[in-house]
């Protein structure tokens, strides 16, 4: 009876110490007051939440964060799911090689990868030079400091999570199913749509959860590509912590973001579970 508890104790201690304690600390911090020249006081009130939730500016930032998260999720879905399917149909040496290529973005540190995008995106950057040179546009396209740029850079790094998640559910798929479907007269497209897709849908959904959570809490990409005028909740939190020094307000914004993402994840997870239950039963 005691053994399972003892065996899980180290992991539990790790979670409590490095996840729950900082989260709890942030939540407590968010209830304190702040003055620019008096610092953080020890009072408790919901004033920071009232400030944020009664402020159009914050709703704008919040809407942008969710918009970027959602767009990134849709794009990674459209790229990642077919990519995973194609990878699963490849023969051994190539499958490994291309899987590594697909996971490539994760092998580079977020800051250097994002700065790389910044170099490509600039009005004098490679992408705009190519587009101008090919005569496709006559004015450089604004990628830097726009949501378009942020979504492209975020999709680039988050596609691998979708690929991994969809690949996992493709591996669980019995290859005989596709043949059975063909033997019953279904064409390739019908098989894909009626047999394969329903099976990998849970994979796509759980991939979406990961991508959405990472995209809406991303910091480095919106900070570097988006700049100060394109605030998302994570960069707003950073700004309150490091520039205004208003830690309580930053903590409140962080808590709201955390709760929102957690709510989205819980709801989506329910959908995934239900889907799996239906498949099993």
């Amino acid at each position: 009876m005691l053994r399972p508890l003892l065996l899980t104790a180290p992991a539990a201690a790790l979670f409590v110490l490095f996840l729950l304690v900082p989260l709890g600390g942030t939540a407590v911090l968010s209830l304190h007051g702040f003055g620019m020249y008096s610092g953080i006081d020890s009072s408790y009130s919901a004033a920071n939440y009232r400030d944020l939730l009664g402020d159009d500016y914050f709703y704008g930032v919040f809407a942008r964060t969710l918009r970027i998260g959602l767009l990134t999720t849709v794009i990674t879905m459209l790229i990642g799911a077919p990519e995973a399917y194609i990878l699963s149909r490849m023969r051994p040496p190539w499958r490994g090689i291309f899987l590594l290529v697909a996971l490539g973005p994760l092998l580079i540190s977020v800051v250097s990868r994002t700065l790389g995008w910044a170099v490509l995106f600039g009005s004098t950057g490679l992408i705009n030079q190519m587009l101008l040179g090919a005569g496709l546009v006559d004015q450089p396209i604004a990628f830097m400091y726009t949501e378009t740029g942020v979504v492209i850079a975020l999709s680039h790094v988050l596609v691998p999570f979708m690929v991994i998640s969809v690949s996992a559910s493709l591996q669980r798929l019995d290859p005989q199913l596709a043949r059975a479907s063909a033997s019953l007269g279904a064409g390739a497209f019908t098989t894909l749509r009626r047999v394969i897709l329903p099976h990998i849908l849970p994979g796509i959904l759980s991939g979406s959860i990961i991508v959405f959570a990472l995209a809406s809490s991303a910091f480095a990409t919106p900070e570097i590509i988006g700049g100060r005028r394109l605030k998302v909740v994570a960069t707003l939190t950073y700004d309150e912590f490091l520039n205004t020094l208003n830690w309580p307000l930053g903590a409140a914004a962080a808590v709201i973001l955390f709760l929102t993402i957690a709510a989205v994840i819980v709801v989506c997870n329910r959908l995934v579970e239900r889907r799996y239950d239906r498949m099993r039963g």
Binding site: P22, T26, R228, R229, A234
Partner: protein, 345 residues
């Protein structure tokens, strides 16, 4: 979310390590990166370390970062000396992060502008705020060199202008100057916000606080003109980049870069000695030639060649304008709120 937990983790780490270093003869100095860090590390610290048998550890970061660190370490202070710009320094003093300066003859040799109110902090360098521009691109386009702060409103600089944000002193000075040129002042800031929003805003590519990023924007030709300081401009020009720095005809604006001994902690006497050392004429000359800081000690002597590009001497320092810091600091919180809502969106 993530940055919140990281900061908490950092403060926990600081709290844990503070005590172990209290006995060491090590002085922790926090200050700006870039040319200031280079000059201090390569030419200034060694002399002090030899003289006092103290080891200096330098923590680089911009003024608001350091202020955040001072807040994080409160109660278990580790940083002994903080070097930050005048605006954030005012905030640091009022938040109780600085301790009183001990009396020393060197303070009598300073220009008045260097002596901050309250006796807890002092300026160790003067930087002039003006306009930096890519002279090569101005020539290629046959544009006349900028002469006025109002040139920031010129539509030819659409998406080619960079200004540091309001939480950065350069941004604050720009806002106040635009207010003054449009019939306002520190106490009547509305015209400044209107001008920034309607006339300057469309030209601004990005409100960028990082000197590294600013340099990159110039080098990649995305930025053609910017509001910046004489010391930063000198560092960029010294790399061979065809940039020019100019004080607009309405006058450049002075930024005094401050230094203070950090309150609390182990109150090392070396902190006071270090500040006196930084203010000595020799070190002042080194900081001038290396990092482009205008000397605050009247006894500092520079050759004419060394004087180029930095405010030097009573006359030049007197020509630089200052803003009413009491009003600006009192309103900073409200201005900041308004800035992120009206200007940075």
């Amino acid at each position: 979310m993530r940055s919140g937990s990281i900061l908490l983790a950092i403060s926990l780490i600081l709290a844990g390590t503070g005590a172990t270093h209290a006995e060491d003869r090590t002085l922790y100095v926090a200050g700006a990166g870039g040319s200031q860090e280079q000059t201090l590390r390569n030419q200034v610290f060694r002399g002090f370390e030899a003289k006092t048998h103290t080891k200096i550890v330098y923590v680089a970061g911009n003024s608001t970062d350091i202020l955040a660190k001072l807040q994080a370490q409160k109660g278990s202070e580790q940083i002994d000396v903080a070097m930050i710009d005048d605006g954030p320094m005012f905030q640091a003093v009022s938040l109780g992060f600085c301790r009183a300066l001990e009396a020393n003859p060197v303070y009598a040799d300073l220009y008045d502008l260097a002596k901050f109110k309250g006796g807890k902090s002092v300026a160790f360098g003067v930087v002039g705020t003006g306009l930096i521009y890519n002279a090569q691109m101005f020539k290629d386009n046959n544009w006349p060199a900028p002469t006025s702060w109002l040139d920031l409103e010129n539509p030819r600089f659409k998406q080619k202008l960079v200004i540091p944000p309001l939480n950065n002193t350069y941004g604050l000075l720009t806002l106040v100057e635009m207010a003054k040129l449009n019939g306002g002042s520190e106490t009547n800031i509305d015209p400044g916000f209107t001008a920034m929003k309607d006339k300057v805003g469309p030209n601004v590519l990005v409100y960028e606080p990082s000197p590294g990023k600013m340099t990159e924007l110039f080098q990649s030709k995305q930025a053609v003109i910017a509001v910046w300081g004489s010391s930063r401009a000198k560092a960029l020009a010294d790399t061979g980049f065809p940039s020019q720095f100019t004080y607009p005809k309405e006058g450049g604006i002075a930024i005094s870069v401050g230094i203070c001994p950090v309150a609390g902690g182990s109150d090392k006497p070396e902190a006071q000695t270090f500040i006196q050392y930084i203010l000595s004429p020799d070190v002042q000359a080194t900081l001038a030639t290396g990092a482009g800081f205008g000397p605050v000690n009247k006894k500092t002597v520079l050759t004419p060649a060394q004087q180029v590009g930095l405010p030097y001497g009573a006359e030049q320092i007197a020509q630089l304008k200052t803003i009413d810091w009491d009003v600006a600091n009192a309103n900073r919180e409200a201005w900041n709120k308004r800035w992120v809502r009206e200007i940075e969106r």
